[in-house]
């Protein structure tokens, strides 16, 4: 038996599945913001759990943010079969008698099934220990991959057409191939900056299932031949940072990052870096500068990071979700999915997993989240650099290339599209780093052009063209997108009082 199997088996063996019935209290950022600890006490859940031999554990949000404050009762047997019941928006008192009936009902297999799969599988189900994560499948894919060759792994990623989840959709396999073709040492930079207003899926992933990212990192390091990894986490995402730090310590202590687990003497060193604000810090070359200790401004491209990245060395820069998604490709029927953060005018805002193969329509997603396509005047995609999807398009299937980083806001019937666009323009103006003139001056003038009563479309269009052609990075390059989209789809709102 290889030392790798010894590590995984020891980890798994150290876990005994916990209690048969467990109540997972979804704390995380969503739970904390809704006082879940006080609420579970208040409604009597803790008390009834004690009386019914149900173990109480604290975990993260499961992506059903709308349900917060919430808790999930899970009953599991030795064969890892389970039934679940989620207590959403803990607003009713829970009685011991009812709880007993519920538990019995669940044991007969009438549990609540929410159809989660893939990336969100373990979200909100983990108790924070490495053993529990391994028990629920963490590191099993990397284990399988390490038994094969690097080229097989790359081929698999290529076959499933995995593309970057940060919004640019660059083919992941190609990026890895380009970097591995250059002489080492090479670096991996994980972009977990996620600073785009309206996007919160990476935070959820890192808070709730950090080992999935670490597993993706190990796969990348093995395939590309990388020993040094930087994870750049958004400065405000404290809970995600803490959860990830803990996971890295756990993985280190268990030997998962060392040569006993990884072949060919590979040893992976992971360093966490905390950002300090600035939408522009999500741009990959800005992250490189930030890590090096230089001013956080974009670099000229080319050279591309896969040729000259951190300290001039070949560097793979992947979004956190991309690396997490890599781990889902080794299942029997891997469902490459994209996480989206859906908020606004829907009954159940939260993190959703959208199939990447274009089988779900906009209307379908709205309905899934309890929204009403009929009373949703538009969906804003991708925040300050995004576009609007109008009702005429709701029956179209969702394409990966459209969703950007995955921030979706369903607008309400009384939303003023014009004010939304103006607010986004002002946001871009504030966040422009000032390094290049087209963006620094362009965002200022775009804001001014939109602030008059009747907007001059020609001037706006030619300004946006200059900005998108000449800006150093995508902040300026895409700052005009929501404006052009709103002008095209809602031409009448730009005349009359601003």
């Amino acid at each position: 038996m290889s030392p790798r199997h010894v590590i995984l088996e020891t980890l798994q063996g150290g876990y005994h599945g916990g209690a048969e019935s467990r109540l997972m209290i979804h704390e995380g950022t969503c739970g904390t913001a809704t006082n879940v600890r006080q609420e579970v006490e208040r409604v009597g859940l803790i008390e009834v759990c004690e009386e019914n031999d149900v173990e109480v554990v604290y975990g993260s949000c499961d992506g059903n943010c709308w349900a917060a404050p919430s808790a999930t009762l899970r009953h599991e047997n030795d064969a890892s079969e389970f039934v679940e019941k989620r207590f959403s928006r803990l607003d009713e008192l829970i009685r011991v008698e009812d709880f007993g009936v519920l538990l019995n009902g669940m044991q007969r297999g009438q549990g609540f099934v929410d159809g989660k799969s893939g990336l969100l599988d373990r979200l909100g189900r983990l108790d924070g220990s490495l053993e529990h994560a391994v028990w629920l499948g963490a590191y099993s894919n990397v284990d399988q991959i390490l038994r094969g060759s690097k080229s097989d792994a790359l081929q698999r990623i290529e076959d499933w057409k995995l593309t970057g989840r940060g919004g640019a959709h660059f083919p992941t396999a190609l990026k890895w191939r380009l970097a591995s073709g250059n002489e080492g040492p090479r670096y991996l930079v994980v972009n977990a900056e996620e600073g785009e207003p309206g996007v919160f899926k990476d935070r959820h992933l890192l808070e709730g299932d950090p080992h999935r990212l670490l597993e993706g990192i190990l796969i990348c390091c093995f395939v590309v031949g990388i020993e040094k990894v930087f994870i750049y986490v958004n400065g405000q995402a404290r809970a995600a940072f803490n959860s990830l730090s803990k996971a890295v310590e756990q993985a280190k202590a268990a030997g998962l990052l060392g040569p006993e687990f990884l072949p060919n003497g590979l040893r992976v060193d992971i360093e966490l870096r905390q950002g300090a604000g600035g939408y522009v810090c999500g741009e990959e070359s800005v992250i490189l500068n930030s890590i090096e200790g230089a001013r956080p401004v974009p670099r000229f491209k080319p050279p591309f990071a896969t040729d000259e990245g951190l300290w001039g060395r070949p560097t793979v820069i992947n979004n956190a979700e991309t690396l997490a998604a890599v781990t889902t490709l080794w299942q029997d029927e891997p469902p490459p999915t994209k996480l989206v953060s859906l908020s606004g005018n829907v009954a159940r805002p939260g993190v959703y997993e959208v199939p990447a193969d274009g089988t779900l329509s906009w209307a379908g997603l709205l309905l899934q989240a309890g929204g009403e396509p009929g009373s949703t005047p538009a969906i804003l995609l991708g925040g300050p650099s995004g576009v609007f999807v109008i009702p005429e398009r709701y029956d179209e299937k969702i394409k990966m290339s459209e969703v950007g980083a995955g921030g979706l806001v369903a607008l309400a019937p009384d939303s003023s599209i014009r004010s939304v666009v103006q607010a986004l323009t002002k946001y871009n103006l504030r966040e422009s780093c000032g390094e290049c003139t087209p963006c620094r001056e362009g965002t200022l003038r775009l804001d001014a052009l939109l602030s008059v009563d009747t907007v001059d479309f020609d001037k706006v269009t030619s300004l946006v063209e200059v900005m998108s052609e000449a800006s150093l990075c995508m902040l300026g390059g895409m700052a005009g997108r929501p404006v052009l989209s709103a002008i095209e789809d809602f031409p009448t709102i730009w005349k009359g009082k601003a």
């Binding site: 904390t32 809704t34 405000q236 870096r273 300090a276 604000g277 200790g293």
Partner: protein, 156 residues
């Protein structure tokens, strides 16, 4: 700028803690941002005296240290005005009446309230950040008023 030049007392024990923690960091330019975070964690902001120490220790020119420091919006070069509460005005919060909340509280005149960019808790809009940085979801004006009143007058 005037605020920046205001002479400010730095507690000795905080300075000692900062210097001892700083000395554990590797003396390389790449640790500039982690050093700023360290200072902000200890002092609540990045005071000039800490900036000088960082420049010395990491052997980076002072001008470059300032250029980098001031480029990050979350790093503070002046101490925070205390007791402020913030109302998130991201798109989702705006749709749930954030601007209205800010206005109502501002009209009341007794509260220190400001608006703030997206706090990434869009599912629980409208969202506020309390005076110690805690996030609260689905806030209502009446709850907010009592919460703020309690925190802003409670200690006196």
């Amino acid at each position: 700028m005037s605020e920046w030049r205001r002479p400010l007392e730095i507690a000795d024990h905080e300075m000692r803690e900062f210097i001892s923690e700083l000395s554990m960091i590797e003396r390389e330019k790449q640790y500039l941002l982690p050093s700023f975070h360290l200072a902000q964690e200890i002092f609540g902001w990045v005071p000039p005296v800490a900036v000088e120490k960082i420049a010395d220790f990491l052997r980076v020119p002072l001008s470059e240290v300032y250029a980098t420091l001031t480029a990050y919006s979350e790093l503070r070069i002046a101490p925070d005005e205390k007791d402020y509460w913030f109302i998130c005005t991201g798109v989702a919060c705006e749709m749930k009446g954030a601007q209205n909340i800010v206005q109502q509280l501002a009209d009341a005149d007794e509260f220190k309230v400001r608006d703030i960019d997206c706090q990434f808790l869009c599912s629980l809009a409208p969202v506020c950040v309390d005076d110690s940085g805690g996030l609260h979801g689905r806030v209502e004006v009446s709850e907010l008023i009592s919460g703020i009143r309690e925190s802003q007058t409670g200690g006196e």
